[in-house]
C-alpha cells in the first residue's frame, strides 16, 4: 500500500505504524538477520578450521553433480507436494462453500487437525500407515489384492503424500478465503448467459480464485521444502533432501563452511522460485481485482 499523503494527518499515522513495528523489527534483527549475516561469513571460509576466506565452498557445491541433484530433487519435491495439495485442496475448498454450516465446521476441523498435532506424531502416524506391516499393506493383503507387501514407506510417493497431508491447511485456508470473496451472483450470471458448470468454473471461478491459489502454493511450497522431520522419517536413508544434506555437513562432518554455503544456495534457490510465484500472484491479483 503506497501511502499518498493527501491530508496532514497521514504522515503522523505512518510514524505510528513505524513505532509499532519496532519490537518485531528488533526481534528479527537480533534473531534472524544477525545469524544470517554470521552464516554468510562462515560460508566464505575455504577450510573446515575456518582460517582462509574464499568462494571455494560455493564452487564446490555448484560444480558437484551430486549436490546439484539434491538441490534439484528438493525443489522438485516442493513442486510435487504443492501440486498434490492444490489438486486435493481445491475441490475440498469448493465443496466447503457449498455445504451447510455444521458440515463446514467438520471440514474445517479435519483440515486444521494436522496443525493441532505435533509434527513428530503426525509423521509417525504416516509410518504406521505406510509401513510393511502398516494399515494399507495389511488391508490390501487381507483383501487378497496383493501377494506381498508394497513398498510405500521410504519412497518419494510416501514423502509427497505425508507432506501434502501436513501442509494441506496452508493450501486450503487461502483457497477458502479466495472462494468466499467471489460474489455468488457471478456464477448465476454465468449460468443465465448460457454457460455450463465447467465453463463457469474455468472462466469465472478459477480466474477469480487465482490470488488464493498463488498464496496457497507459496505457503505450501516453502513449508514442504523445509519439512526436515517428515522428509527424513518418511523418506528414510535413501532419499536425501537439502535440509538433511546440510544437517549432515554441519553436525556429522563438522564442515560448517560447506553447510553454510549449502544454506545460502538453498535460500537463494527458494527465493528465486518464490519470486516467480509472487510475480504470478501480482499479475493475477491485478487481473482479479481490476
Amino acid at each position: 500500500m503506497a501511502a499518498t499523503p493527501t491530508t496532514q494527518n497521514l504522515p503522523t499515522v505512518t510514524a505510528y505504524e513505524l513505532k509499532l513495528a519496532w519490537p518485531l523489527g528488533a526481534f528479527f534483527i537480533v534473531f534472524f538477520l544477525a545469524p544470517l549475516v554470521l552464516l554468510f561469513i562462515v560460508s566464505l571460509y575455504t577450510d573446515t578450521t575456518m582460517t582462509h576466506f574464499g568462494l571455494t565452498q560455493y564452487a564446490k557445491f555448484l560444480l558437484d553433480p551430486f549436490s546439484l541433484k539434491v538441490l534439484g530433487a528438493t525443489l522438485w519435491l516442493g513442486v510435487e507436494v504443492t501440486a498434490l495439495c492444490l489438486l486435493l485442496g481445491f475441490p475440498l475448498a469448493y465443496v466447503y462453500l457449498r455445504v451447510p454450516g455444521w458440515a463446514q465446521s467438520v471440514l474445517i476441523l479435519i483440515v486444521l487437525l494436522p496443525l493441532l498435532t505435533s509434527v513428530v506424531v503426525r509423521t509417525f502416524a504416516w509410518i504406521v500407515i505406510l509401513g510393511r506391516q502398516g494399515i494399507i499393506n495389511t488391508a490390501l493383503l487381507e483383501l487378497g489384492l496383493i501377494d506381498s507387501p508394497l513398498r510405500l514407506l521410504y519412497t518419494e510417493g510416501g514423502v509427497i503424500v505425508a507432506l501434502a497431508q501436513v501442509q494441506m491447511p496452508l493450501m486450503v485456508l487461502p483457497l477458502i478465503t479466495a472462494l468466499t470473496r467471489i460474489d455468488p451472483n457471478l456464477a448465476d450470471a454465468s449460468a443465465a448467459l448460457g454457460a455450463g458448470a465447467w465453463r463457469t468454473f474455468w472462466k469465472v471461478t478459477l480466474p477469480l480464485t487465482l490470488p488464493g491459489v498463488i498464496a496457497g502454493c507459496l505457503l505450501t511450497y516453502a513449508a514442504a521444502l523445509s519439512a526436515f522431520i517428515t522428509q527424513t522419517l518418511v523418506g528414510g536413508g535413501q532419499m536425501l533432501f537439502m535440509p538433511m544434506y546440510l544437517y549432515q555437513q554441519a553436525s556429522t562432518l563438522n564442515n560448517w563452511p560447506f553447510a553454510a554455503a549449502i544454506s545460502f544456495i538453498f535460500l537463494v534457490a527458494v527465493f528465486a522460485v518464490i519470486t516467480v510465484f509472487n510475480m504470478l500472484g501480482k499479475i493475477s491479483q491485478g487481473y482479479a481485482n481490476a
Partner: protein
C-alpha cells in the same frame, strides 16, 4: 448443437410470452410464493411490486431456473421450462449488484454469453459493438467494471444480458443502488432499450413510482400472494384490495359501516357523517364493517358545510399543489392534496375545516380486517 445454437441466437429479437401458472415456493410450512399466476405477453414489461420479503426475488429466480418451484409451471413461448437448468432457458438477468465479471473488460463481459453459445468470433465482435453503441459506452470498451460508475456498470449488465437476445429479460431491483437523478435517467434508458429490442421484461421493485412509470402491467405481491395484476393506472385508480390501495400511492383510511348498497355504497363513518363510495370490489353486505380508502388528491377542504370535521395541523405549499394535514375528532390524520392557484397560501394551523371527497367514484371500501 453448434448450428442449432447459432440459429437460435440469430432469431429475430422479439421476446417470447411468459406464463407463470400457479407457481408456489414452500420453505417448510412457509410460502415464499403462494400460487401466483401471471400471463405476460411478448414484448411486455411487467413490474413485480411488493414490500420486502414478499417473494419477488424468489419468483424471479424461479423464472430464471435457479430455484425449482415446489408447485406450478413456468412456460416461455410454447416451451415448458420446469426442470430446465438456467443455462438452457434463454433468459437474461440483471442483478441488483450487476454481478459483472470483475476480471473481464466491458467488451469481454458483453461477449461472454455469445462465446458460451458458440457464436463465431467475428459475429461476437459485431454484436458487442452494436451493444456498446446501444448503451453508449463504445469509447470505454476496454475498461474493467471497477473503473465504471454505477450507472455505467448497470448499462453494461443490461447489454451483457441483452447481447444473447434472451426470450425474457429479468431485472432484480436494478435501480436500487443508484442515486435519485441517475435512477430516473436509467429508468428511461432501460425502457428505451427494452422497447427497441422488443424484449419481454420482468422488473422486480419495491418502489411503486418505478413500477407505475415503467411497466405496461404491474403485479402487486403481498406475502407471496398476487394481490392485483393490471395496468398501472388501474392499479392506482381501482385497487383491488386494501393492501394495494395503501401500498401503491398514499391513502387515508377511515373505519365505518355500510348502510346502503345500490350501485354505489354509503358508509356511516365511525367519526360521524355518511360518505358515498363506489361499489365495493370485494363483496360486502349492508351492516358490514369496512375501511374507507381516500387518496389525498381526491379530497378537498371547505370552511363549512358538509364533510368530515377537522382541524388543520400543517399546510405545505408544494408548488403545483398544497398539502394539508387535518386532524379529525378521533385523532386520525388525513392528508389532503389540492391543486394550488397562483398566490394561494396554505391554511393557518388550528383553523377548523371540512374535508369532502371530489366524488364517490374514486373512493374505495374494503372489508375491515377481522380484528
Amino acid at each position: 448443437m453448434q448450428g442449432f445454437r447459432r440459429r437460435m441466437t440469430a432469431a429475430p429479437s422479439t421476446g417470447q410470452s411468459l406464463v407463470i401458472d400457479a407457481v408456489t415456493q414452500r420453505y417448510g410450512a412457509f410460502f415464499a410464493v403462494d400460487h401466483v399466476s401471471l400471463d405476460i405477453k411478448a414484448g411486455e414489461l411487467v413490474a413485480l411490486l411488493g414490500p420486502s420479503g414478499c417473494g419477488k426475488t424468489t419468483l424471479l429466480r424461479i423464472i430464471a431456473g435457479f430455484i425449482l418451484q415446489s408447485e406450478g409451471h413456468v412456460v416461455i413461448g410454447d416451451r415448458l421450462m420446469d426442470g430446465l437448468p438456467p443455462n438452457r432457458r434463454e433468459v437474461g438477468i440483471v442483478f441488483q449488484n450487476y454481478a459483472l465479471f470483475p476480471h473481464m473488460t466491458i467488451a469481454d463481459n458483453i461477449a461472454y454469453g455469445l462465446a458460451a453459445r458458440g457464436v463465431a468470433a467475428d459475429e461476437q465482435k459485431t454484436r458487442v459493438k452494436d451493444m456498446l453503441a446501444l448503451i453508449k459506452l463504445d469509447h470505454i470498451a476496454d475498461r474493467f467494471p471497477k473503473q465504471l460508475s454505477g450507472g455505467q456498470q448497470q448499462r453494461v449488465a443490461l447489454a451483457r444480458a441483452l447481447a444473447v437476445k434472451p426470450n425474457i429479460l429479468l431485472l432484480d431491483e436494478p435501480f436500487a443502488a443508484l442515486d435519485k437523478n441517475l435512477r430516473l435517467d436509467m429508468q428511461i434508458e432501460i425502457k428505451r432499450i427494452q422497447r427497441l429490442a422488443g424484449t419481454t421484461a420482468v422488473l422486480v421493485t419495491h418502489d411503486q413510482e418505478e413500477a407505475l412509470s415503467m411497466a405496461d402491467r404491474v403485479a402487486v405481491l403481498n406475502a407471496g400472494r398476487l394481490e392485483q395484476y393490471a395496468p398501472p393506472t388501474e392499479v392506482y385508480d381501482a385497487p383491488k384490495s386494501l393492501f394495494v390501495n395503501t401500498f401503491v400511492g398514499t391513502a387515508n383510511t377511515l373505519p365505518g359501516k355500510v348502510v346502503a348498497l345500490n350501485g354505489e355504497a354509503t358508509v356511516a363513518l365511525d367519526i360521524g357523517g355518511d360518505i358515498k363510495t363506489r361499489a365495493p370490489t370485494v363483496p360486502v353486505a349492508v351492516g358490514d364493517r369496512v375501511t374507507v380508502c381516500m387518496r389525498p388528491e381526491h379530497l378537498r377542504l371547505a370552511d363549512s358545510g358538509e364533510g368530515i370535521a377537522g382541524i388543520v395541523e400543517m399546510g405545505l405549499p408544494l408548488g403545483p399543489s398544497i398539502v394539508h394535514e387535518v386532524r379529525t375528532a378521533d385523532g386520525r390524520a388525513l392528508k389532503v392534496t389540492e391543486p394550488r392557484a397562483a398566490g394561494a397560501q396554505p391554511r393557518a394551523p388550528g383553523s377548523a375545516v371540512r374535508v369532502r371527497t371530489v366524488g364517490a367514484n374514486v373512493i374505495s371500501i374494503f372489508p375491515a380486517a377481522a380484528a
